[in-house]
Amino acid sequence: MTSLTMIARVTDGLPLAASVQEDEKSGRDLQHYQSQAKQLCRKLDAQSPERCTLEAGDMSFHYLIAQDVCYLFLCEASFAKRSAFAYLEDLRGEFNGRYGRRVAAVTRPYSFIEFDTYIQKTKKSFVDRRAPRNFGSINTELQDVQRIMVANIEEVLQRGESLSALDTKASNLTSLSKKYRSDAKYLNTRSTYAKVAAVSVFLITLIIYVRFWWL
């Protein structure tokens, strides 16, 4: 099964650990998803929902945020959501215990890449249906997964972009309206001049007429 697990710091999206499993049979290009995952981690912030599932075609991103660390799991959309979040919970517990205190201080990406070993093992136990632990863990984690928000990955990734697009449009509007205003002023003055000119021509004609023909 193709999957991708990534753990990142929420404050700046710095990746802390990751594990990639490619399935040569499916031949899916994980590279695309990896870059999406990276972007997603950068987009997330303290205001993001704590648990969320994002759909990306026939794959789904499940993520969980706890103690400023985001746990992200990419798997096939058919994979049970409940198992996915139980798996993330498991990772959270272990990761927090091992590295929780050092998370804020690190600057190097993938500082805790050695966590990969644990991720792989845990994932195997969750993915493998026959593993006895699987049922037990799911049963204990009786959380209401229905309430977990579902969104589309594209929307999330493009949320920022649409805002900035809106911003540029607004500023465009501002500058356009300014231009309109100045144009209008200019036109006004011009028409005023035209009127004044017309009136004065008429008056001069009148004066000349009166001066030469009436007298």
Binding site: D12, L30, Q34
Partner: protein
């Protein structure tokens, strides 16, 4: 390009022919430029001028291909005016498949599928030489990328071959200026399996010419070819496609700005830097890791000053390392520059004073003195008025006395003692003291000419090759490691900030490679070493020429891979006979903890004879499980996650397996070897992660894909006629190696074979996947203890040495210089990006350069090599070396700065290429001619001494000795019985060994040990290390009553003369007399005598400087034993080669 088929004259492109013109040019494929006829070499300009006058013959198709090799051929023929050669040429074009360097290939090479992570077919970065863009041919749309480098191509040869005129017509389409410095070198990649038949019209014709006796004296053109260096980057230009980083569009503009800026010299930069050298932070600590203020955590996105901000996630390695050049360089700029070298071709005779030799040098430039005193700021940027002055004087600003010594004319026929007393050091570049202090160590980065000639014309005149020798991943004692959110790089050429940039003011710095002015980011203002603010010029990046950056996640396409090692072991009958398995297993068990890696390290094992055996080492098993796959035609992996296992978790199982492995096959009768399928299995097993595959092979592969036949005729071993089969017999190994390289798998080959095993074919698996090759001829665990010992030492070093994974390297140089040929083991991904699946500290690289544009407007030339790799601990790091050299305008300065060792090594690389693409005798002639041409060039241009005889500047005085030594090497010798495999292995070593090691192999150091004195000895760690004098490699220096040590790089020979003093024998060897010295003595006993201590201290000191442990062989003065010693006395006559005096005489006869 309206008629693609037509341009690709005869090229039905198939994989082996390297459709990427620059893509896979290592190995034999790279030598185009070396294959020009002599006419095109040194004496080029007059003939070149014919070039534009060639009438554009009518063609039916608008042919806009870049001047291809055929263009070159045309040039050649034209100059010879021999119509019948057209015929030959055409024949050659027909018989060989080659790919014209058309932009089709550009699209091919740029999205070469070897890029596993790339999702976006990104446009390859345009080459650094910009004038390419001028050519009309770049305008057509990219050909639909077929996606596989060896995939079927949509275009095929036209049914009817075009008339030769067609080929002639091409040059006329090239803008005339391009003919000068930028004329074609043709990135046509020759197909190595046909060594005799050259891809190159020129060469084949050249051979014809020789055969016809037309130009007998020009046989063997010099290896370096100056006149027509079109950069190999031809192809990747082209479509102004989307640069992923989105910087392309701005490139042009910035560029222009930088040029304007270069006119406005800001003295502040110089002032700012005046004291730079003096205030260097103490850097004695190994790795002073620098962390910048943690307050800058906005990192991530903002650091995109280093990768471009349009797309936060780079999509392939090109962009990772940041090769994204702006798409358009200002053509106008180049138009003017291009013509310059040509105009200056006639280089109006030097001022007479310069002909006076060294004595008059100081007088020749009286203004030199004030210059030196005026506190010349090395950081000052070239601006027009200053440039003339500085270039004229730059070469002399350093230490004149050194220079004078380097230029002292040496008459080779009279002076007999040419060797310096101590091992030859690299010449110091003639720079100001501050720059010299920060310059890159010559061991990491070395240039053949430490004074760069200003123009190509000057370089041609000097008749020396221009190139760089790199040893980028060398084990270093001290290396500043920088952790920073922002890696400061030039926005247009992506150069990393380095000690040779100029700070215009606090907020701006000027790139020393492209002269663009960049902003200094905020973070860079803080200096973490001194904890001060506002001193960007004191940051460690600007204080050290070799630094290592911890890369941000922008430099990663995927999470850093774990260290992964797969061992592929031959267990056929032959292997069991040789008995290596036991020793290998023992060594691996002993070194299991020393394998570089962390807790993620993965290992796997795979054995093969006529079937492939996998080993399940999954944690929790009680013992290893063997899985046998006998279907070698369609290999599959029996289990997915249990074959490559975590070393830490499955440690006991791995040990179990290694302990039982030697016994498991001890009764094997299977003589066949399915190496090809085993390699395919290894590839499948490793492709998810990448890593290192280590192959042990003991015989010719006989089964399945990649099986080979014996090609060596033992009777031809000593033939002088020419050596056949230096190239691979099949492209299977190369294809597989390219696949491996794409998946970040490096393959290292240990060949332990007593029989011919076709190393020429097998070595391709390592050559193109950036691996290394080890060869142990006639290895046997009991019959050949010397080889066994060497094997053990090598394997131990091999297992424990540093390793870098998923690496790429890019070499950048100052605008005007361009790199056209690479030597070493790697895969050239896009024009100048070397893809190294693995990088190890023992392999070196070499590149050849040409001068595209005149360097007259700068006084310094800089070179930067950046190596991006993942360490075995999963850290992504960038190691950056920057070398700075002066630019000179006088020929004498060029000679004064010549680095004879570097030149020899580069020539050796070029000779290897030549012997693969052309023939061995051709390569040998070319080497001889290199010496002849240098001698005559020096005679006619610099030395005005009317003495007859052979005169060279002192800096080059050893050149003929080295050339002679090269000619006597296994790789290049003829007439002496040499096994084909040994010859091929020697060639591989030439290509990959670092300079010091290679020089010791070519020209061993000879010392006399029995009369060492403490005079001049070094005191290291309370041990006195004596420094005996170097001796010439001639039997007349070797005396019966002495003991001599020969240091051959990978082995020491201690030769004891028959009448050597008993004191030495007793005190050093612990034997009572000469007669009691045992036959196969391989170590120096640790005796408590002064003499023994001295000898051991000296040996240890020599040993310290190399990575692989060399063994000591004690040889007695007996006919049976002394052969290896006397064979290496290269100045003596041997059975098939002349002595040094004879060689000099030969050179003198050859001189015009």
């Amino acid at each position: 390009m309206s008629a693609p088929g037509f341009t690709h004259l005869n090229s039905s492109v198939s994989y082996g022919q390297n459709p990427t013109p620059n893509g896979c040019q290592n190995g034999p494929g790279q030598t185009y430029q070396s294959m020009h006829p002599p006419a095109g070499c040194y004496g080029a300009p007059p003939q070149q001028q014919n070039y534009p006058t060639i009438p554009a013959l009518p063609t039916s198709v608008p042919n806009k291909a870049p001047a291809t090799n055929s263009a070159h051929g045309a040039n050649y023929y034209w100059s010879n005016q021999q119509q019948h050669h057209h015929h030959h040429q055409q024949q050659h074009h027909l018989s060989q498949h080659h790919v014209a360097p058309s932009p089709y290939n550009a699209s091919l090479s740029s999205d070469a599928p070897s890029q596993p992570y790339a999702t976006v077919p990104s446009s390859a970065p345009p080459p650094s030489n910009a004038h390419y863009n001028q050519q009309p041919l770049q305008q057509h749309p990219p050909y639909a990328p077929s996606g596989r480098y060896y995939g079927p191509q949509a275009y095929h040869a036209p049914p009817a071959p075009p008339p030769p005129e067609q080929q002639q017509q091409q040059p006329s389409l090239v803008p005339a200026p391009a003919v000068g410095p930028g004329a074609p070198i043709h990135p046509i990649v020759s197909y190595p399996s046909a060594p005799g038949s050259s891809q190159f019209g020129t060469l084949s014709s050249f051979q014809n010419a020789a055969a016809h006796g037309v130009m007998p004296t020009q046989m063997g053109a010099p290896l370096h070819q100056y006149s027509n260096p079109r950069p190999a980057s031809t192809a990747a230009v082209g479509q102004p496609g989307p640069t992923v980083n989105g910087q392309g569009s701005t490139g042009h503009k910035h560029y222009d700005q930088s040029h304007q800026a270069s006119l406005s010299y800001d003295p502040y930069g110089g002032v700012l830097h005046g004291g730079g050298g003096a205030d260097r932070p103490p850097s004695g600590t190994p790795s002073n890791s620098v962390h910048s203020s943690p307050g800058h955590h906005q990192g991530g996105d903002t650091s995109s000053s280093s990768t471009g901000s349009a797309s936060p996630v780079p999509n392939n390695y090109d962009n990772l390392e940041g090769g994204s050049y702006p798409d358009s360089m200002p053509p106008s700029d180049h138009m003017t520059n291009q013509a310059a070298p040509y105009g200056s071709y006639g280089y109006p005779g030097m001022p007479p004073a310069y002909h006076q030799g060294p004595a008059s040098l100081a007088n020749a430039s009286p203004s030199h003195e004030p210059y030196g005193q005026s506190g010349y700021q090395p950081y000052s940027q070239p601006f027009p008025s200053m440039s003339q002055l500085s270039t004229a004087l730059g070469g002399l600003s350093g230490v004149p006395e050194l220079e004078v010594e380097a230029l002292r004319p040496v008459n080779l026929l009279q002076e007999k003692n040419l060797l310096p007393p101590r091992a030859l050091e690299a010449p110091e570049p003639n720079l100001s003291p501050e720059l010299r202090k920060v310059n890159c160590s010559p061991q990491s980065f070395r240039c053949t000419l430490t004074s760069i000639p200003q123009t190509q014309a000057l370089l041609n005149k000097a008749r020396l090759p221009l190139g760089l020798l790199l040893h980028p991943f060398r084990d270093l004692q001290q290396l500043p490691v920088i952790t920073s959110n922002t890696i400061v790089r030039c926005r247009s050429c992506r150069t990393y900030i380095n000690p040779f940039v100029t700070f215009l003011d606090q907020r701006r710095w000027k790139c020393n490679l492209c002269y663009r002015v960049n902003d200094v980011p905020d973070e860079f203002m803080y200096n973490p070493v001194t904890r001060s603010y506002g001193e960007p010029h004191k940051r460690p990046e600007v204080q050290n020429a070799t630094v290592e950056f911890i890369a941000s996640s922008d430099y990663m396409l995927r999470p850093p891979q774990p260290a992964a090692y797969l061992f592929v072991l031959d267990v056929s009958h032959n292997a069991v006979e040789a008995g290596y398995l036991k020793y290998f297993s023992e060594l691996l068990i002993d070194n299991l903890d020393k394998l570089p890696g962390d807790t993620r390290t993965r290992v796997g094992f795979l054995t093969f004879d006529n079937t492939i055996h996998f080993y399940n080492l999954q944690e929790g098993l009680s013992q290893p499980q063997m899985l046998v796959v006998s279907d070698i035609d369609d290999i599959f992996i029996p289990s997915h996650d249990s074959l490559m296992v975590n070393l830490k978790e499955s440690r006991e199982l791995v040990k179990d397996l290694l302990t039982s492995l030697p016994g498991m096959f001890s009764h094997s009768k299977e003589t066949h070897s399915a190496l090809g399928p085993a390699l395919q299995a290894a590839f499948k097993l490793m492709s998810p992660t990448g890593g290192r595959v280590t192959v042990f092979q003991t015989q010719l592969p006989t089964l399945g894909a990649g099986s080979l036949q014996s090609r060596e005729d033992p009777n031809q071993r000593s033939s002088t006629k020419g050596v056949q089969h230096l190239g691979p017999a099949t492209d299977f190994y190369k294809k597989l190696a390219l696949d491996c390289s794409g998946q970040q798998i490096g393959v290292d080959l240990f060949l332990l074979s007593s029989q011919y095993s076709d190393l020429a074919s097998l070595s391709c698996i390592s050559k193109y996947s950036a691996g290394s090759v080890f060869y142990y001829p006639s290895f046997h665990h009991t019959h050949n203890p010397a080889q066994l010992e060497k094997f053990q030492r090598d394997v131990e070093r091999y297992l424990t040495r540093k390793i870098g994974f998923e690496a790429v390297m890019r070499i950048r140089c100052t605008k005007g210089l361009s790199i056209h040929t690479f030597h070493g083991n790697f895969f050239v991904r896009s024009t100048d990006l070397l893809s190294l699946a693995n990088v190890n500290p023992d392999s070196a690289f070499a590149v050849q350069m040409s001068i595209e544009d005149s360097l007259a407007d700068s006084s310094l030339a800089c070179f930067q090599a950046a190596l991006l790799y993942t360490s075995s601990k999963g850290k992504r790091r960038i190691r950056v070396h920057t070398l700075c050299l002066p630019v000179v305008s006088q020929l004498s300065d060029v000679y004064a700065g010549a680095d004879v060792q570097a030149i020899t090594c580069l020539l050796a690389d070029m000779a290897i290429d030549r012997s693969l693409t052309s023939s061995l005798s051709d390569a040998r002639d070319a080497l001889t001619n290199a010496a002849v041409y240098l001698l005559s060039a020096y005679k006619s241009n610099v030395s005005n001494l009317q003495q007859s005889g052979l005169v060279l500047p002192a800096s080059m005085r050893l050149f003929p000795v080295y050339i002679l030594a090269l000619l006597k090497q296994k790789a290049l010798r003829t007439g002496t019985s040499t096994r084909l495999d040994e010859r091929v292995f020697a060639m591989c070593e030439f290509k990959t060994q670092p300079l010091q090691q290679l020089m010791r192999m070519v020209h061993p150091d000879l010392y006399r040990l029995d009369d060492m004195s403490d005079q001049g000895a070094l005191l290291l760690n309370h041990t006195l290390v004596p420094q005996p004098h170097l001796l010439h490699l001639s039997a007349e220096r070797v005396r019966r009553d002495g003991a001599f040590l020969m240091d051959c790089g990978n082995v020491f020979y201690l030769w004891i003369g028959k009448s050597c003093s008993d004191v030495f024998i007793r005190d050093v060897l612990g034997c009572s007399s000469y007669a009691s010295i045992p036959e196969n003595m391989r170590h120096i006993p640790e005796l408590e005598t002064v003499l023994s201590e001295r000898v051991r201290a000296f040996l240890d000191w020599l040993q310290d400087k190399r990575s692989f442990c060399s063994s000591v062989h004690v040889l007695k003065d007996e006919a049976s034993a002394k052969a290896p010693f006397f064979q290496r006395l290269v100045e003596d006559r041997s059975e098939a080669a002349s002595s040094y005096p004879d060689f000099l005489e030969h050179l003198q006869q050859q001189m015009p």
